[in-house]
C-alpha cells in the first residue's frame, strides 16, 4: 500500500505542478526535503542514542518494570494475545508511557522496537511476517489516536501568537484526545472479536 501512496504523491505532484506551470517548485521541494530529512536524522541520531542509552540503564535497573506494573491491566486488555513476559509488552508500555508524557522523541525508538518484537512474535506463531498482526494494527491505531496529555507545543505557539489564555484549550484537548483514543480502541476490539467469532 505504501508503494502506491508514495508513487501517487510523486506522480500527482509532478503532473499537477507541470499543469500549473510551476515545475521549478518540484525540483526545489525534492532537494529541500531530502536535505531536511538528513538534518532531521542527524538531530534524531544524537537524541535517540542518548535516550536509548538511558533506557538501557532503566531496563537494567528495573525502572520500566515498575512503571509498566501500573499500566499492565490496560495493556493486557488491549493486547490479550501477547504472551506474558514477552519483550513486546515492555516496549509497548515504554512507548505508551513516553507518548502520554509527550516525549515524542522517546516514544519512537520504543515504538519501533515494539513493532520488531511483534514481528518476531508473528514468526514464533509461524505466520507470515509481512502481514500486519492484530497487535500491530491495535498498537498503531492507539499511537495515531494521540495519547499526549498536555500539548506543550501548541500551548507555546498560542502564547507566542498573543493568546489571552494559552492553556484555555487544555481541558477540551484532553477530552478530544480521550474520545479519539476510545474510538480507536473500540474499533480494534470490534475488529479482533469479529475475526475470532
Amino acid at each position: 500500500m505504501l508503494n502506491f501512496i508514495w508513487a501517487g504523491m510523486i506522480i500527482i505532484g509532478v503532473v499537477y505542478a507541470t499543469l500549473q506551470g510551476d515545475i521549478a517548485s518540484v525540483t526545489n521541494a525534492a532537494l529541500d526535503s531530502a536535505k531536511e530529512a538528513i538534518t532531521l536524522c542527524l538531530t534524531m541520531m544524537g537524541v535517540m542514542s542518548f535516550w536509548m542509552g538511558l533506557m538501557e540503564i532503566a531496563t537494567k535497573a528495573g525502572v520500566i518494570g515498575a512503571l509498566s506494573k501500573v499500566l499492565r491491566p490496560a495493556i493486557r486488555f488491549m493486547f490479550p494475545k501477547v504472551p506474558r513476559g514477552h519483550k513486546a509488552n515492555e516496549y509497548i508500555t515504554t512507548n505508551v508511557i513516553a507518548n502520554i508524557l509527550g516525549l515524542g522523541w522517546a516514544a519512537t525508538p520504543a515504538g519501533l522496537q515494539a513493532m520488531e518484537a511483534l514481528g518476531e512474535l508473528q514468526a514464533e506463531r509461524g505466520r507470515d511476517r509481512s502481514i500486519a498482526s492484530e497487535e500491530m494494527c491495535t498498537f498503531l491505531i492507539i499511537n495515531i489516536s494521540s495519547l499526549q496529555l498536555i500539548p506543550v507545543n501548541i500551548i507555546a505557539y498560542r502564547s507566542q501568537y498573543g493568546s489571552v489564555n494559552p492553556t484555555r484549550i487544555l481541558g477540551a484537548g484532553l477530552i478530544a484526545t480521550t474520545i479519539s483514543t476510545l474510538v480507536g480502541c473500540i474499533y480494534c476490539k470490534w475488529k479482533s472479536r469479529k475475526k475470532c467469532g
Partner: protein, 174 residues
Amino acid sequence: MRLLAYLTDFIVPAVIFLIVTYGVLEKVKVYDEFVKGAKKGFHTVIQIMPTLIGLMVGVGILRASGFLDFLANAIGRMTNHIGFPSQLVPLAIVRMFSASAATGLVLDLFKEYGTDSRIGLIASIMMSCTETIFYTMSVYFMAAKVKKTRYTLTGALLATVAGIIASVWLANYI
C-alpha cells in the same frame, strides 16, 4: 501557565536524574549500559533514514505542487455545509502527512484569525488530539518489514475523524 511551563521544563531533567540515580542505587554499571544502548539508538536511526528521505521528498513535492491546496479548496466547499470551516480543511489533510507542515499551517491560522478565535481554538484542539497517520504508519511498518497493513488505516482514520469532530464541537463550550 507558569506552573505548567515549570512542569514542562522539569519533566526531562527529572526523568534523566531518576533513571541514573536508580541505576546507581541498583548497582548497574551505568556508563557501560548507556554506551550499549546508545549504539542501538544509532543503528535504529540509520535504519529508518532511507525511509524518511523517501517520505519527506514525496510529501515535499506534493505540497510544493499546490495539489494539497487545490484538494482542500475543493473539499472545503462541501464541508462548509456540515459546519466544518473550510479554512481548516488544509490543516485536517496536511496533519495526516506531516507534523511540521501542519504546525506551519496552524501558525498561519493564528496570524490570520487570532489564537482565541473559533478557528484558532479548533485548530489548537485538533493539533492536540491527532497524529501524523501516514508518517507513523510508514516508519513503524517499515521497521517491522510489514507490507500488508490490513485495517490499520481505517482505524487510524476513524480515530482521527472522531478527534476532529470532537474539536469542532468542544470549541463551542470553552
